[in-house]
Amino acid sequence: MAADEQSLRVAVLGAGLIGVDLTDKIHQSQKLELALVAGRDRDSLGLRRAAEMGHSTTAGGIRAVLDTGPFDVVFDATNADSHAEHWAALRPTGTTLIDLTPTELGTVIVPGVNSHRSAAHRHVNLVSCGGQAAIPILYAISEHCTPTYIEVVSTGASASAGRATRLNLDQYIATTSAAIRTFTGTRDVKVMVNLSPARPAPPFRVAMTVLAGSFRAAPIRTSIAAAAQAVRAYTPGFKVTSLAVDPGRISAAVEVTACGGRLPPHAGSVDIINAAAVLLAEQSR
């Protein structure tokens, strides 16, 4: 894709499942110019694929990003344990760092909920795929009631979760819970994660239960529909598949089917967080 003068020079750090799809999505962006894909294993599928697409690649990790930079935006699609070091290294370069690992270091941004604030921040965190799917709906609900308890259970297909995701389940739970607390003002939050071995692989699914005192059903339904519409603007496969608004209890489930690109349909988790990342990068100037 020919980049015009207005385009932002970006780098992807990490060449796992997330990094590979990010590469594809950035490739299609009119506003982003992918200048480097940095992994750690020269033979990894992610680096080979990026090279095949004509992008410049390196197995030199963060060091290579620093040497090749500065970049307008760097996406961190590595591992929660490595992220703090990446931020420390990139901070002095003036780069905007968009963190796709579940850490709580950057400013938490969920498009449609608080993305208007993203341009002001040089270090953005995207919570988790489950957070990106749940928070727009939970935020919409919490505009109309005061939740006393929120529970979120995400189920991803086995094939949609790479090694870092699997190592980071604790951080995923902690980061997602913290973000839900922040966005809804609810202290009692529980997050659980399932990986499904079913074949064919099921779509990414996030089930939410909100307990709250009194509320009116109609405005909640309207706000949820509007929130879902807003998410679909950048993740077309996002859908509210069930919604029950009962006295004291709201249960909703969303499913995300990956659409377009090379992602298999079950990888909706990767699709939604990467779509959010690219959207925020495009808006970062």
Binding site: L169, A198, P202, A207, S251
Partner: protein
Amino acid sequence: MKGTPPVNTHPHERPRILLHDPTLRDGHHAVGHQLDADQLRAYATAANAAAVPVVEVGHGNGLGASSLQIGRSKLDDAMMLTTVREALTSSRMGVFMAPGWGTSDDLEAAVHHGADIVRIAAHCTEADVTERHLGVVRDLGAEAQGVLLMSHMTDPGELAEQCALMVKFGAQAVGIMDSAGHYLPSDVTERVHAIADAVDVTVIFHGHNNLGLAVANSLAAVDAGATVIDATARGFGAGAGNTQLEVLVAVLERRGAETGIGLREVLAAADIAADRLMKTPPSIDSIAVASGLAGVFSGFKRPVLQTARAEGVDPIDLFLALGERQVVAGQEDLIGVVARQLKASTR
């Protein structure tokens, strides 16, 4: 002894089988996770007196799993563990945790409360989620075991590979759970053989009784080389229940294996379980047969019955439909969805 294959390499020694008793954990599924402290104490005391080597305790789905999705437990994890720990003088205390339901914080708390053996569980093809937590358990100094749930969903070779991975991550014993009660003895033989060939640590088997084969499957596991077998008093557990502990003690006695458990004492413990923990012992009702055949997690029985009643659908149809969707434990949110789809399709 003709026709009876040797269970270990020392023909003059009676093979030693360690019975691991999750009555106070898996049994929780049968009573909506509602056991109170007196009940936990009564059974733990009796199991300890019977020299049951490991008494496992917790919410039915383990540490951190108390939730609206899976069911809230009456007592929190700390209270359950403290209560049982106080009742055990010689038996070791076990806990269970699946990454994604519980976290490292739960593991630290459990070991702090006196857990000796920590099982880290993953669905059958997902062993790599156990890497971090098996390491945490080892660092905490407890015995780390790795178990694969819903193991009927994949083949013996894959199970063996997944078990070998868990050993690489630090598991000191590994094995499989027949979470749906789906296996025949020959299935168990093949799988345990494959695992025992692939690892050099103790192999675990955990059966359920949906097809009436839990004890037979456990015996097949022993014959194939498993040396840790899970069993619960009166088979207390989800749906048709688990391998019945006191029956297995008697069967292994006949088989010439050593469990270290006295029959009279384990029968007394089982009577206490029957008296204190359950209204009725588990039985293989029609639902249990259907769920075993469909290969659906036995712990779904209560929510499936509730949902079937609320939506006006046949619970057996619902179980079979859930089986087609290949749902796994933790996906209880799908029960209502599938029930409503069934209802719509039969209208």
